[in-house]
Amino acid sequence: MPGHIVRATVPITFAYKNRVGHALEQYINGLKEKKILGVKCPACKKVYVPPRTVCSKCHKPIDQMVEVGQEGVLKNFTTAHVNIVNGEITGVQQPYIIGLIKLPGASSLISGIIKTPSVHDVKTGMKVKAVWKETTQGDYNDLAYFEPA
């Protein structure tokens, strides 16, 4: 009967060095200074956070960085009971909230972790504010999480 198989595993992991590019570089530099930066399209005036080098709507290259507010409104959230790390779904001890937040001055929503004493305290429409690491070092974790304002 044809169709016999052998199994193969490969003890190799390919490594990549991906560049963050113009816009995210400035965003991260902003985080180091505890600022949240967006980019403003001169044509439609939309402000994208985090910034990128193009307006999705107008298809125009954009580079005008603007700082947006740090206290905003929680628009949507999910309660995470798991983490996905290297493709493995593993349960977490303490469920946590992943939210989409509208910051003042931003047209797009930013995603982030919402920390509250209990996950049941979280409601859409509530005000949340950015909480920074005490010592920022220029990476995404500088903006540690959001908490009720």
Binding site: V6, R7, T9, I12, R19, V20
Partner: protein, 149 residues
């Protein structure tokens, strides 16, 4: 060139895969090697002889199950002279990797070519024969190399 931006390191983790690979062709091939025979499969429709021999014909797209023993002599097809290692450093003893077509087969076998003194005198179309290891055990390594006749 404008300013360099940050690198984020990422991977493609091949260790996470568990491949299944069809082995009908190699199963038969190594089974033959144990008895110092070269076995392949022949398409009963078009007559193509494959070594190692899959259980279907690529040209006719039909199942094939006719096992054939093929000659242990044939012609040198393509070859390359390995003069340097992967990094381009010259190696002490150059060796020739080649593909050969055993008489009566339509497929190419790859291996090491010996029986030459000056690689510049090696030419495509030269006659070759199979050389076996003294003790065979049903493994690819049983076929030691191809030798110029």
């Amino acid at each position: 060139m404008t300013q360099e931006t940050r690198i984020i390191e990422n991977t493609w983790d091949l260790t996470a895969y568990q491949w299944k690979i069809e082995s009908d062709a190699l199963d038969l091939y190594v089974k033959g090697l144990k008895d110092k025979k070269i076995l392949g499969r022949k398409c009963h429709k078009c007559g193509t002889v494959y070594v190692p021999g899959p259980t279907y014909c690529r040209k006719c797209f039909i199942d094939i199950d006719k096992v054939v023993e093929v000659a242990q002599e044939g012609v040198l097809d393509a070859f390359t002279v390995n003069i340097a290692d992967v990094k381009g450093n010259l190696i002490e003893h150059p060796y020739i990797t080649c593909t050969v077509k055993l008489d009566g087969t339509h497929s190419f076998l790859m291996g090491i070519l010996e029986g030459w003194t000056d690689w510049r005198s090696v030419k495509e179309g030269m006659r070759i024969k199979v050389v076996w290891k003294d003790v065979t055990q049903g493994a690819l390594a049983d076929l030691s190399h191809f030798q110029l006749i």
